[in-house]
């Protein structure tokens, strides 16, 4: 199984998510993670979809089918080496009175994770990184009793110097903000 990151640029209108995901469903491809936000261009959304698949050919066919959606401006499929990517995770860690204290220095310096909220009996720690880095930290913090854990979907940017504007030079776009 290889991990593929599919970046889909679309017009930002109602129902596009449905139009995209139905293409995965029909081919019985499970989505590992999905993130959507508006891009630097006004009215243009960017979907970052992560899947695992054994066949590169099947992923290429999937990408071409997504491209057929009228509102889709461009679709790119990437291997991990092609992109800079990250996720964000939040851990709610139990810290009852009398328990072994958290080693904040290790958490900060070794794991590059930050406590973002303190409560009397728990803390919330935020960790940014790849899936592997997040799970490394997960294993480290596990003995402290994880009350809640949540991971975002992957966000990814291609290492290629080209941007969407290079693919669609005729577009007249305003910046998002």
């Amino acid at each position: 199984m290889t991990t593929y990151t599919i970046c889909v640029f679309t017009e930002n209108t109602i129902g596009i998510l449905n139009k995209i995901t139905t293409i995965f469903t029909r081919r019985r491809i499970n989505i590992d993670s999905l993130t959507v936000s508006e891009t630097e261009r006004k009215g243009i959304s960017r979907f970052t979809i992560v899947i695992r698949h054994e066949s590169r050919e099947a992923v290429e066919k999937l990408v071409r089918q997504i491209r057929k959606i009228i509102e889709v401006l461009a679709v790119f499929g990437y291997l991990n080496d092609d992109i800079a990517y990250n996720e964000i995770a939040m851990f709610k860690i139990s810290t009852p009175i009398g328990a072994k204290p958290l080693d904040i220095e290790t958490i900060n310096k070794v794991y590059k994770a930050w406590v973002v909220y303190w409560h009397l009996t728990y803390v919330i720690i935020q960790k940014t990184g790849t899936e592997e880095e997040i799970f490394e930290f997960f294993n480290y913090i596990k003995p402290h009793e994880i009350l809640e854990f949540v991971r975002s979907g992957r966000v990814a940017v291609s290492k290629s110097p080209q941007t969407l504007v290079d693919y669609l030079p005729e577009a007249e776009w305003e910046y998002y903000m």
Partner: protein, 586 residues
């Protein structure tokens, strides 16, 4: 209750919403109909209902410009629109209400997407304030139709109508054509536009840019393979007809002297009389075309998509051959069969560009190989089918007699099943754009409404529907539509009292365990008479000629029921999962 000072009504209580706006502002329904008129729409197939009533009220004012045809079931509207689109090369239009009206279109929409048929379906929707409340006749038709439309859109504001309708037409007919569904809430139909109606045809979209002219390097690479090939084999599909590329295809075939075979939906694009035409492909296609697929050295595929009914077992399909694939939809390239030289573009443009680059050639020897297979097929299948010794009439005789009587120039609309395959085998198409059938979806019940739609689109051509007794009962109510129109659609039922194709499979692959395939049929002629359509049942071979003559001579709709052999099978046949070269003759 507050009243606007400008209100003209003085009775105290306003019974009707009163327009206080400037007179040039029109409501959404009028904007819709005016948009359709500007797009050149002259015919709508539709069925009214609650959520589309404002549009029907508007149509009332435009009856001189637009002919609305009232079908008997929305599925009939969808297939009629398909038949209309296929014969005219234009866009078929359906109009239906929300909920069941819209869902009844679904089969036709699914049929249109898989057979690349341009269609704009306009459906009513509950008022926007009711969306998502499970209101009366509310269905999420947007959600339902996402996988089966080329594009769909919901309009909740009348100001959007001109732009969205323009976009709908552009998307439906450009590139690889397909169905578009526009869902319009009732309030958007009723409300006045906030600005004057201005219509601008859509010619370009940023996010959708179908490629018409292929890249030169792709055409050059294709030409190189074609010129090097010793045993090239050309397959043409529906894309040739859609692109109106029949003339260019013929020039290409004649210059390169390649043998050419049709897919089911490609039939009639090349005349059966042409010396380079070698038959058709697929499960019930010809013997030579299937077998020699596995001994050519190059496939030149034009406007076809290697359907599994064409390829059989893909792992043993034309492994020895290189592939030139001319196709407008880039997603079709490499989808089933890997292309050595893909050419993405319109079939007509691609052939125009290819023509000067390919060498004149002579493949007489290679083409002669097909003749050997033809002789075997002729002896083992075709002749016995056409001159049977059975007491009952066989389907093939009916089709061939019809073919002779219409000189191979009628528009033939076949339904789905044995009679469809027999039509494809035995009607000798001599005129382009003459065969309409449900290919990809295999929709039983397609032919009666589609034949009607085709007759509306081409009133000067003879249109003959060929329908099985099972299929006929799926959309039988459209006899009412045909009768009301008075159009002389000719209908042939090949009645074997069986769901013949399923029965054939049960005989061949399920030890003759005939599971729910036998039909106790009504008296079709009496039913037709009830609708006001004349008809005749032909049960004897001696009566077949006269029966067909009488049907063809009728200037009104006519139903001819032919009682055929109950348990005949369609051969040749490539059974599911078999290799094309292992095609069975019995």
């Amino acid at each position: 209750m507050e009243f606007n000072e400008n209100q003209t009504q003085t009775t105290g209580i306003a019974e009707q919403p009163v327009s206080v706006a400037a007179p040039e502002l029109i409501n959404g329904s009028h904007a819709l109909i005016q948009s359709l008129i500007i797009e050149g729409v002259k015919t709508i197939f539709g069925y009214p209902g609650g959520a589309i009533m404002p549009v029907y009220d508007a149509i009332y004012d435009y009856q001189e410009q637009i002919d609305h045809i009232l079908v008997r079931h929305e599925q009939g509207a969808a297939h009629a629109a398909e038949g209309f689109a296929r014969i005219t090369g234009g866009v078929g239009i359906c109009l239906a209400t929300s909920g069941p009206g819209a869902t009844n279109l679904v089969t036709g929409i699914a049929d249109a997407i898989i057979d690349s048929t341009p269609m704009v379906c306009i459906v009513g929707q509950v008022g926007s304030h009711l969306l998502g409340t499970d209101a009366f006749q509310e269905t999420d038709i947007m959600g339902v139709t996402i996988p089966i439309t080329k594009w769909n859109y919901q309009i909740t504001n009348p100001d959007e109508i001109p732009e969205i309708i323009a976009k709908a037409f552009y998307i439906a007919k450009s590139g690889r054509p397909g169905p578009v569904l526009i869902d319009i809430t009732k309030d958007a139909q009723l409300k006045l536009m906030s600005k004057s109606f201005v219509y601008k045809k859509c010619e370009k979209l940023l996010s959708y840019r179908p490629r018409l002219s292929p890249k030169e390097e792709q055409v050059e690479a294709a030409a190189k393979l074609i010129n090097e090939s010793k045993r090239p084999f050309l397959f043409f599909g529906h894309g040739v007809q859609i692109a109106h590329a029949e003339k260019e295809l013929l020039q290409f075939i004649e210059k390169t002297d390649v043998p050419a075979a049709s897919t089911l939906l490609g039939l009639s694009s090349v005349s059966v009389d042409h010396p380079n035409y070698v038959g058709w492909l697929g499960m019930h296609g010809n013997y030579g075309t299937n077998v020699l697929t596995n001994s050519c050295d190059l496939i030149i595929a034009i406007g076809m998509r290697f359907d599994d009914r064409v390829t059989g077992d893909l792992s043993r399909y034309a492994k020895q051959a290189k592939v030139v694939h001319i196709e407008i939809d880039p997603a079709e390239i490499d989808k089933i069969k890997k292309a050595d030289a893909p050419v993405v573009g319109d079939a007509k443009r691609a052939l125009e560009m290819l023509l000067p680059l390919v060498n004149e050639n002579n493949h007489a020897e290679w083409r002669a190989e097909f003749k050997k297979f033809d002789a075997i097929e002729d002896e083992k299948i075709t002749q016995p089918e056409l001159a049977p010794t059975t007491e009952k009439i066989k389907m093939a005789e009916v089709i061939r007699t019809l073919s002779n009587k219409t000189k191979g120039e009628a528009v033939v609309v076949a339904d789905v099943g044995q009679h469809q395959m027999m039509t494809a085998r035995y009607y000798q198409f001599k005129k382009a754009n003459s065969f309409i059938t449900s290919g990809g979806l295999g929709t039983m019940g397609y032919a009666l409404p589609a034949a009607f739609g085709a007759k509306v689109g081409a009133p000067d051509r003879e249109v003959v529907a060929i329908i099985g007794d099972g299929c006929f009962q799926m959309t039988i109510q459209e006899l009412g539509t045909i009768a009301q129109s008075g159009l002389p659609v000719k209908i042939i039922i090949l009645n074997n009292n069986f769901l013949g194709m399923v029965r054939q499979w049960q005989q061949l692959f399920h030890e003759k365990r005939y599971s729910f395939v036998e039909l106790q049929n009504p008296d079709f002629i009496t039913i037709a008479k009830g609708f006001g359509i004349n008809g005749h049942t032909c049960g004897a071979r001696e009566d077949l000629n006269d029966s067909l003559d009488k049907m063809l001579a009728s200037d009104k709709p006519y139903l001819l029921e032919v009682l055929v052999e109950k348990e005949e099978n369609v051969f040749p046949m490539v059974p599911t999962g078999a290799c094309v070269a292992d095609i069975r003759l019995e």
